[in-house]
Amino acid sequence: MKLVACVLLLSGFFLVLAALVLLTSFEQRSAFVGAGFAVEVLGLSLLTQSYRTIRKEHR
């Protein structure tokens, strides 16, 4: 789960970079940068969820 979350974070970042390189109009770029950012938020949520369980030795 943690690995998937980190892959999602990186994927979102590369989506943002791809939007900058491949697209030219401001509206398209904004939409794809927003989509990349949303993927990052998804990865961050997954990473947070994976650490939410409190291990017995930490109680």
């Binding site: 974070l9 990186l10 109680r59």
Partner: protein, 429 residues
């Protein structure tokens, strides 16, 4: 460039480190107070030494050698390529370019110490001294230099305008470069070290573990203000060419955003709990400073107040969300106050900054690209590095350490041996 003003401003920055160290140890337990202060010194020392030896080469500065490649017809400047051990910088006054580079080195050296101190807050009462030094070395040698180069060393984030026709990512006082990077390390450490023993019950209900010295926390806030003013002023002179008149605006904005953050937190906690909460109000003060630093030289005083108010309100709610719902035990609130308030500050620059008409959208887009680089690239790098270090040297202290406190466990003596009777109500017997 005003040499005297930039040097004087830089000399104020250590006050920010002193303030943060006092805040962290005051918000921890008394049995870990000496450990917290020593950890601050060690983190600052290790990160500074490693930064000069290795990190400064990769951080680089505008006009210095860089590692770069061309992809998609775009020149990507991703890492500095200056000589190691700061050998490319002369301190004898023989060349004019050397003066600028030595000033950048000095500012980044002071900044990396701040970055290294921020995560200590999230690891209070359980993060061991050895791993703290290792993590600080990673921070000073690799993590901070990469993002500092991207933003302050004329890296790809500082070239978005030339390469993509939007606007350059802007971070005047280091809200992203210093605060968000430090806050993300704090999040990684809080995840890896886990919560303090006794913090959460079997059904996940958190116990309140109050800080042991709120007076030092509040005094730390005042010290931090002095340091932040120096940091914002020095960075705006060195990286954005601010003159003396703009520096006056920087000082005013820093004080206003901190004040607004603190007052907002006082009002919110008064409304929610019927009495103002001193530690959350202190966090609101720091959140205001953090959020205001991104745009300190580029917004009006009323915008600085608005940025501070939103940061102060956000920090009080986010600290609760992290503790109650996400189960992140962050005694000093570093994740909320540094990482999230810093992200708000970066975005606020796009929303409130003074820009030519019709370019605001491009500035907001550039700021979002910078924030996505922090979350999408820097966070996995930081967390991966800390997970590897944790395998080599375990971050979390053993159960004896929780029981006796970090002072006795790691230093052999308590901070207040004659005056404090330890209360053990937070540690299950």
């Amino acid at each position: 460039m005003n040499l005297e003003l930039s040097l004087f401003s830089m000399m104020l920055i250590p006050f920010a480190a002193a303030g943060l160290a006092l805040i962290h140890q005051g918000l921890g337990r008394s049995r870990s107070a000496a450990h917290a202060m020593l950890a601050s010194l060690c983190a600052l020392a290790v990160s500074a030494i490693v930064f000069v030896l290795i990190g400064s080469a990769w951080a680089g500065s505008a006009g210095a050698a860089t590692h770069s490649f061309t992809l998609g017809g775009v020149h990507w400047d991703w890492l500095g390529a200056a000589p190691f051990f700061a050998r490319g910088i002369s301190f004898d006054g023989s060349d004019a370019a050397g003066l600028g580079r030595s000033l950048v080195l000095c500012l980044e050296l002071l900044a990396v110490g701040l970055v290294a101190i921020i995560p200590l807050s999230a690891g209070t009462d359980r993060w061991r001294l050895g791993p703290i030094c290792l993590s600080s070395a990673l921070l000073g040698g690799v993590i901070f230099p990469i993002f500092a180069h991207w933003v302050w060393g004329a890296g790809w984030l500082a070239q978005l305008a030339g390469n993509f026709g939007i606007s350059n990512f802007t971070d005047v006082g280091g809200a992203g470069t210093i605060q968000v990077v430090g806050g993300l390390v704090a999040l990684s450490v809080a995840w890896i070290a886990g919560p303090r023993r006794g913090k959460y019950s079997d059904d996940g209900i958190p116990a309140a573990i109050p800080g042991h010295n709120i007076v030092q926390v509040l005094f730390g806030c005042l010290l931090a203000l002095v340091g932040w003013i120096g940091l914002d002023a020095a960075a705006s002179i060195l990286f954005y060419g601010a003159g003396p008149q703009q520096v006056v605006g920087v000082v005013i904005n820093a004080l206003l955003s901190a004040s607004a953050g603190c007052i907002a937190a006082v009002v919110v906690t008064r409304a929610r709990y019927h009495k103002p909460d001193a530690s959350l109000s202190a966090n609101g003060w720091i959140a205001g400073l953090v959020a205001g630093s991104a745009s300190c030289a580029m917004v009006s005083p009323e915008s600085a107040i608005a940025i501070g108010v939103i940061a102060g309100v956000l920090s009080t709610y986010l600290i609760e969300i992290f503790e109650l719902h996400l189960r992140v035990d962050d005694p000093g609130g570093a994740v909320s106050v540094h990482a999230l308030a810093g992200i708000w500050g970066l975005l606020a620059l796009g929303l409130f900054g003074h820009f030519p008409e019709g370019t605001r959208g491009a500035h907001i887009l550039a700021q979002v690209v910078g924030i996505s680089a922090l979350l999408g690239f820097m966070l996995p790098l930081i967390h991966g590095g800390n997970l590897l270090l944790n395998r080599w040297s375990t971050y979390r202290v053993d159960d004896d350490g929780h029981w006796h406190g970090m002072d006795v466990r790691e230093l052999g003596a308590g901070a207040y041996p004659e005056f404090v009777i330890h209360a053990d109500e937070f540690v299950p017997r």
